[in-house]
Symmetry: C2
Subunit: 152 residues, 2 copies
């Protein structure tokens, strides 16, 4: 089959520097981070300001599409092993191996990770988000609006 | 920045043959389709059978992680315009243009689409799903478990 080329549109800036520090499914830990978007894509960010969480939505996010305060970030897990088809879920070796397509492991044929994060603020080309478990330097390949109706 | 190569792991088989037929945000229409996984990745599918929707979960999907009956499918929208940074939301020209990162438009720098679908059945390397709006022949690049807690 045909192959496709992914070109990063930004990068994660985070206090998480080492894969060993990154929490499994760290969306649940509330880790804050920045998404620094390549200024060439600034126009593509227009409208994201509507998604910024308010005091009312920051804690919950189910008050409707526009004001959920959540966005979706896709990253490229550049440290992943693309040849691994089975993993121990959440890295726990006491649990039997499962196919990567039934997990959220970074190891998968196309190591694209999916992060549903809370958008806290935007300053120029920098998004501040909460619930991002990707480590510092992780390439960002896409940003999308989140919809509780479509994605929940 | 470094570029990365995406290799499709499967393909969508659907009655939707033409982009013009594809409903906008068609997850809401209940469109059924098949995901035909390249047999080389059969081992990566192990465990997906646990995600198959039951009569109880098919209509709702919020009874917890394992039994939600939902999975996430990432596709490559190969007909997309990667140079477009702004679009009319949902293709409606009466609505002002917005940056693609604040929409779910297929047109975006890396045209990776995200589909949260209900897994109806698995037969060999073929997944039958509901809520898939990608057209017939769309390359599939990843499959992930869905978690209401992480993704909702």
């Amino acid at each position: 089959m045909e192959e496709f080329v992914v070109r990063p549109i930004g990068v994660v800036r985070s206090e998480l520097k080492d894969p060993a520090d990154a929490p499994k499914q760290g969306a649940l830990t509330g880790q804050e981070a920045e998404i620094v978007v390549d200024p060439a894509y600034l126009a593509a960010m227009d409208g994201l300001e509507r998604r910024i969480a308010t005091a009312e939505t920051a804690g919950c996010g189910d008050e409707g599409n526009r004001k959920s305060g959540k966005i979706i970030v896709l990253c490229w897990m550049h440290g992943a092993d693309r040849d691994r088809l089975k993993v121990h879920p959440r890295g726990r070796e006491d649990r039997p191996e499962r196919g990567v397509f039934s997990t959220r492991s970074p190891h998968r044929p196309n190591p694209i990770s999916l992060h549903t994060v809370t958008l806290l603020s935007i300053l120029g080309n920098v998004l501040r988000v909460r619930g991002m478990d990707a480590i510092d330097g992780t390439p960002v390949v896409d940003i999308k609006s989140h919809s509780p109706e479509l994605d929940g």
